[in-house]
Symmetry: C2
Subunit: 527 residues, 2 copies
C-alpha cells in the first residue's frame, strides 16, 4: 500500500509521521487504497517556518503573479476534472454528476478565477489616500502563513487546499498551510498536485502552498496559536472549532470560523396555503440535497398549525419515505445524526418518519422528519435547536400568530433565515416582526426561496452571528469580502512616494483599481 | 458631599451602588469634590437590557437622526467647552491650554461631526448590490448595546461617552453603554449631560446613551460577554484589556482593544548626523508631550553608536533634565512608571537621567532617559520592550548596521513604527530591510516624523498587530474604518424591494452614498 508524502515547501516529502490513516468509502464502509500520515509537531513547525519565509518572499512578488497562480491552478483542476471528481466521489459518496463534476468543481475553479481577478484589480484592499495629511493605507498580507482547515462536506469548494478560504488567503498575499480533511485525503492530494505545479509554473515561493493531512488535536490548537502564523480559516464541527478558537484567541491570532447552523425557515400562513405541492417539493429537495450535509441545510421549519400545515407535513413525510436515502460522509455522521435525533425526541419532538440507520452496506440513515408543537419548542428552545447534521428536518407547528412571532425571537446565530410569504401581501402583518427578529440572528435573510444555494457573488454573506461563525462582520463566500479577512491594515504616514506600495502612489496603476481618494471612491490619479 | 447618580435609559438615577469613589487631583493628591458610585451587577444588567431595547427601537430611526444627535452633542460640548475642559484639567492635570481646551476638545467635537457626516452619507456601510443574483448586503447595527471603556489619558477624545469608539458605535446605529474612567468621572458626567440632552432634543430612544462610572472586575468581564451585548471597545492597560478579551472571546462577542505600544523609532545614521538639535527637539517634545501619556509615545528609539548618537543622547538627556516634569494622571501611573524603569535597569538598561518620583505634592516623576546597547537588548528583547507609561524613553545603541537590522526584527505588535532617513538617499540601504521588518509589526509606518500626532482622517490606522490591539485589520481612529468595527454584515437574498433598507433599494437615496454595484463603486441607481 502506498504511503503518501506531505507537501512541504514545494516538495512532496516523506512524512515525519506519528501515525497513519486511510479514507473510507461511505458506500461500502471499506478503506480506500493508500495510507496518509498524521504529521508530528516538528513537521507542523517546519511548515509554519517555511510559510513565514514564503510570506516574506511574497512581498517581492506582485499581485499579478498571485493572480496567474490562481488561474493556472484553476486550469490544472479543470484539465484533471474527471480524475479529481471521481476520487472525491469515491471518498465522499456525493453524487459524481451533477454534484461533484458539474456543480462543485466548476464552482471551485470559478472561485479561484474570481479571486485571481480581484487580486489583479486590487480594489479589495480598500486603498485610501488622504492628500491633505499625506496619510495612505490599504489592506495587505498578514506576515505569516494562513492555516486553512476544510470540512468534510465540500471536498472541492471548501477544501483547505482549493476552497474559498484558500483562494481568499492567497489573493491577499499570504501563503497557505492546508489541513486536509481526513475524510477525503486522496482528493486533497490530487488538488495539491495541481496547486504545486501551478506554484512552480508561475514561480511563486515554493512554500506558498503546503498541505498536511492530519494533526493531533493538541498540534492543531498549537498551529492556530503559533507566533509565526498569520490567521486561520476553519469550516467544520462546532466543538472542534471552538477549541481552535480558544487557542487562537488566547494568542491574539485572527481565526474565522464557520460552524453549525440550523437555518430556520418560516412559511407564513397564506404562503403555506397557496404553496401546495410545489412548496413541499422545494422543502424536501433542500433538506435532502447532498443527504442534508450542507451548512445552509434547513434544519428547522416553522408553520402555523392548520389544515395547510397538516397537508404540508404529510406531503413532506411521504416524500421523505419515497426518496432513496443518500450516503453520508462517514460513520461518525451516521452516529451523530442518530444521537441528535434521539436527543430531539427526548425533548418532545415527535418522529414522523425515519430515525434509524439504513441497514446493510455503507453509511446511510433513513430520511427523517420530526415535528414539535410551538409551545413544546419554546419550553426548551436551546435543546431543540440542536443541529442534526444530515438528511433530517424538524417542523415546528405554532398554535397561533403570537407563538409564531415568539419562536422567531429565540434562535441562536445562524448563517441563514428564510421567510416565505404570500405574493399578494396577505402575510405582511406577520412578515415585519418575524423578519425583524431573524435579521439580528442570521447572516443572510431570504424571501421565498430555500437557503441551500450559496452564490459566489460580491454581496453574498456566508457568515452570521456567533455561534454560526466567530464574528458577525465577515463572510466566507463572496469576493471581495472573503479576502479582507486575511489582511492587516497597513498605514503609511508621510512615507516617501517611491517607498509606497504601487496601489498607494499618486498615479493609479490602472487595471480597475478603485481607491477612496479624499473620501470618494475613484479610479483617478492623485492630482 | 454630592453623591452623583448614573445615566440609565435617559435619566440620571440614584445608583444601586456597592461602593463609591472620588476623583483625585493629580497636582495635589487630594480628592476632588463629589462621590461617584460603583454600580451593582443588577444595575449593569438593567443598562444592558435597556440598551438592547434601544437597539431595537433604533431600527425605526433613520441615519439622519443619529447624525443630528452627534451634531447636537458636539454643539453642546462646544457650548460648554470651558467648563468641561476645566473639569478635565482638575481631574487629569493635563494642561488646560492648549492641550485640553484648544486641541483635545475640538478634536472630540470634530470626531463627532465626522461621524455624523459618515452616518448621513452611509458609504461606510459598503452597500453591495449584485443585480444578476438579486443579492444585496450592507453593514448594519449589531443588535445590542456597545460597551465602551475609555482610558485615563484622553478624558475627552477617547472618553467612553464622547470619544472615537462612542462616535463610531452610534454612527453604526448601536446604543452605547459608556464605562467612564475612574480618574475623570466629573468630566465624563459633564459630557454625559450634553449627550443626554442631545438624545432628548433629537428624539432618539432614551437608552441610546447610558453611563456607569465603575464596575467590579467580575462585572466588567460579565458585561463584555453578556448575551445581549453587541460588542465592546476598550482602550487602556494591557492586563485589564486581556482579561476582558478572554471573557468576550469565550462568549463569541467582538471586542476591539487598544493596549500598550512602545512605538519603535529608528533614526538611521545619516539622518542622525544631519539632524542635530532639531531632531533632539522633536524627540524630546514627542516623549514628554502630555508627560508621555500617549498611546503613540515613542518608548524605544534605535540608533547606530557613533559620535552623532553620543551627541543625540547627551542632548536629549540634558533637555530631559531641563524640562519641568508634567503631572501624571494618578498615583498608580507614578508607581507603574517606577516599576517599569526598575525592571528595565534590572535587564541592563543604563539610567542616564531621572528614574525617581518628584518629591513634594502631586503625582510627578522625573523625566527619565535610559540607554542600552544593541547586544544587551537582543539578549532580552521581550523584557526590554516593557512599556514605561509616562515621561520616559529608552535609547538603543546598535554596534553596527547588522545589529540595527537585527533589532528591527524583534518587536511585538505596535501601533506605530517610524524611520528617520537621510533626505539625500544616504540611508536607503538600511531603510529597506528595517521598513520591511517594521511593516509587519506596526499599524502605521512613518517617515521622518514622530508618531504622537494621530490625525482623524480616513486613511489613519490607529491599530496594529496583537498585542497593540486584538486584530490587525481594524482602526480605532479614522472614519469610515472605525465605524465598520461595530457592525454586522446583513445580506438580503431575493428580498422584496419594499422590505429592503433604503440603501439597498434600486434607487440610490442620494446624499453621497457610494455602493458597490455589480463590482464597481457607484453613486447611481440600479438600472
Amino acid at each position: 500500500m502506498t504511503n503518501y508524502p506531505v507537501l512541504l515547501a514545494g516538495e512532496w516529502r516523506e512524512a515525519d509521521a506519528t501515525g497513519a490513516f486511510q479514507a473510507v468509502d461511505p458506500c461500502t464502509g471499506e478503506p480506500v487504497d493508500g495510507s496518509y500520515p498524521v504529521s508530528s509537531r516538528a513537521e507542523m513547525e517546519g511548515a509554519v517556518a517555511a510559510a513565514a519565509d514564503a510570506a516574506d518572499a511574497l512581498l517581492d512578488t506582485d499581485a499579478g503573479m498571485r493572480a496567474a497562480f490562481l488561474e493556472a491552478y484553476a486550469d490544472g483542476i479543470d484539465a484533471n476534472a474527471d480524475e479529481i471528481a471521481e476520487q472525491a466521489h469515491i471518498e465522499t459518496a456525493l453524487p459524481l454528476s451533477p454534484r461533484l463534476r458539474d456543480v462543485e468543481l466548476p464552482r471551485t475553479t470559478g472561485q479561484l478565477r474570481q479571486a485571481a481577478t480581484a487580486a489583479r484589480e486590487g480594489t479589495w484592499m480598500e486603498a485610501t489616500i488622504d492628500t491633505e495629511t499625506n496619510i495612505r493605507s490599504r489592506l495587505g498580507p498578514l506576515g505569516g502563513g494562513v492555516a486553512v482547515f476544510g470540512p468534510n462536506n465540500f471536498p472541492l469548494a471548501f477544501n483547505g487546499i482549493s476552497g474559498g478560504d484558500f483562494a481568499a488567503a492567497i489573493a491577499a498575499g499570504n501563503p497557505v498551510i492546508a489541513k486536509a480533511h481526513s475524510s477525503h485525503p486522496g482528493t486533497s492530494r490530487l488538488l495539491a498536485e495541481q496547486a504545486r505545479a501551478a506554484v512552480e509554473a508561475v514561480g511563486l515561493p515554493p512554500a506558498t502552498v503546503q498541505m498536511l493531512y492530519r494533526l493531533s488535536h493538541e498540534d492543531g490548537a498549537y498551529l492556530v496559536s503559533h507566533p509565526a502564523i498569520g490567521a486561520t480559516g476553519y469550516t467544520g464541527a462546532r466543538s472542534s472549532g471552538l477549541t481552535l478558537k480558544a487557542a487562537a484567541d488566547g494568542a491574539g491570532k485572527p481565526i474565522y470560523l464557520e460552524l453549525s447552523s440550523i437555518n430556520p425557515i418560516f412559511i407564513l400562513p397564506r404562503a403555506l396555503e397557496s404553496g401546495g405541492e410545489e412548496l413541499v417539493g422545494e422543502y424536501v429537495t433542500s433538506v435532502l440535497m447532498g443527504a442534508g450535509q450542507f451548512c445552509t441545510n434547513p434544519g428547522i421549519t416553522v408553520v402555523l398549525a392548520s389544515e395547510a400545515s397538516g397537508r404540508f407535513i404529510a406531503g413532506a413525510a411521504s416524500a421523505f419515505e419515497e426518496a432513496e436515502p443518500g450516503y453520508l460522509l462517514g460513520e461518525r455522521v451516521v452516529s451523530g445524526l442518530g444521537e441528535s435525533i434521539e436527543a430531539l425526541v427526548a425533548c418532545g419532538a415527535e418522529l414522523l418518519t425515519g430515525g434509524k440507520p439504513v441497514e446493510g452496506e455503507g453509511f446511510r440513515f433513513q430520511n427523517t422528519l420530526l415535528r414539535v408543537s410551538g409551545s413544546d419548542f419554546l419550553q426548551q428552545p436551546e435543546a431543540l435547536q440542536r443541529e442534526a447534521f444530515g438528511n433530517a428536518g424538524l417542523i415546528i407547528e405554532a398554535a397561533d400568530e403570537g407563538e409564531l412571532i415568539g419562536i422567531s425571537k429565540v434562535f441562536e446565530g445562524n448563517l441563514t433565515g428564510c421567510i416565505y410569504s404570500d405574493s399578494e401581501g396577505g402575510d405582511e402583518a406577520l412578515y415585519g416582526p418575524i423578519a425583524r427578529s431573524l435579521r439580528r440572528q442570521v447572516g443572510r435573510l431570504l424571501n421565498d426561496k430555500m437557503p441551500t444555494g450559496v452564490a459566489v457573488s460580491p454581496a453574498m454573506n456566508h457568515g452570521g452571528p456567533f455561534p454560526a461563525t466567530g464574528h458577525p462582520g465577515f463572510t466566507a463566500v463572496g469576493i471581495p469580502g472573503s479576502i479582507r479577512r486575511f489582511a492587516a491594515l497597513e498605514c503609511y504616514d508621510n512615507v516617501r512616494e517611491d517607498r509606497l506600495p504601487v496601489e498607494l502612489r499618486d498615479r493609479n496603476p490602472g487595471g480597475g483599481l478603485w481607491r477612496l481618494l479624499d473620501g470618494r471612491w475613484s479610479g483617478e490619479d492623485v492630482s
